[in-house]
């Protein structure tokens, strides 16, 4: 009687090979899920940081102070450890109807480049840049 190969069952079906393909697919899906999860978590972090930076800029007295406040918020956020290189923040503002800083709006744009390797957990080339923008009305009153 011929002994069946390890990769065939008693009926001669190549079940083990199919299972192996499925296992590899599931492992790849697991890695991809981790990648997406970390990417999404970074996106939330960039969104929150841009909101915080825009809010900090909106309560500053002058555009120069606002720019400094926004950059300080981004530099002190947890993004500094996640982005490579460090996250960048740019600020733009719209004056009020009378042309003044107060009463206008300020927009902060935060960009964070993360290496794919740090997202997937295994070696992978390239990187992704996540950019989020938030706009806040500038406070009319000085505290």
């Amino acid at each position: 009687m011929r002994r069946p190969e390890w990769w065939r069952d008693e009926d001669g079906v190549v079940a083990s090979v199919e299972m192996m393909y499925l296992l590899v697919f599931c492992l790849a899906a697991l890695l991809f899920l981790g990648f997406l999860g970390r990417l999404h978590a970074t996106g939330i972090q960039v969104t929150n940081t841009s909101q915080a930076a825009a809010r900090a800029a909106s309560i500053a007295a002058t555009p120069a102070e606002a720019r400094a406040a926004a950059q300080e918020v981004v530099a002190s956020s947890a993004l500094a450890a996640r982005c490579a290189p460090s996250p960048s923040a740019t600020m733009a503002w719209q004056p009020s109807a009378s042309g003044t800083w107060r009463g206008g709006s300020v927009t902060v744009r935060v960009s964070c480049t993360v290496r794919n390797q740090s997202l997937s957990g295994v070696w992978s080339p390239g990187s992704r840049t996540i950019t989020m923008t938030d706009t806040q009305p500038i406070d009319r009153y000085r505290r």
Binding site: A15, M19, L22, L23, C26, L27, A29, L30, L33, G34, L36, G37, H40, A41, I44, Q45, N48, Q51, A52, R55, A56, I59, A69, E72, V73, S76, S77, A78, R143
Partner: protein, 104 residues
């Protein structure tokens, strides 16, 4: 076959983990925002974060711990269990910290 089933369960567990982490992240961010407001406090931030978790994940979010550290940068950490796919005992723990600059 058993390995495939285990990996698939791990896959489902991962989805549950990331979902839980997103909920806790949202709660921590909301709590930090409230605590960092000009008239806000850490007590307010913790209460808001707890309310967000209760509203969106009240049925499965267990042993929730929310801490808030006041200062020039307010930090809110939400730590809790994730829902286990095969039972609550199999869930992992997720901890998320969000920060916001204190206004004023």
């Amino acid at each position: 076959m058993v390995a495939v089933v285990l990996v698939m369960l791990l896959l489902f567990e991962s989805v549950a983990y990331w979902h839980a982490r997103n909920v806790y992240d949202e709660a921590a961010a909301e709590g930090a925002r409230v605590a960092a407001a000009f008239d806000g406090s850490c007590d307010d931030g913790v209460a808001v974060a707890r309310a967000v978790v209760q509203r969106t994940a009240g049925s499965w979010a267990g042993s929730l711990s929310i801490t808030c550290i006041d200062g020039p940068v307010v930090s809110v950490t939400v730590d809790g269990r994730t829902p286990g796919v095969l039972g609550s005992a199999l869930g992992a723990r997720a901890s998320v910290t969000e920060t916001a600059p204190k206004e004023g």
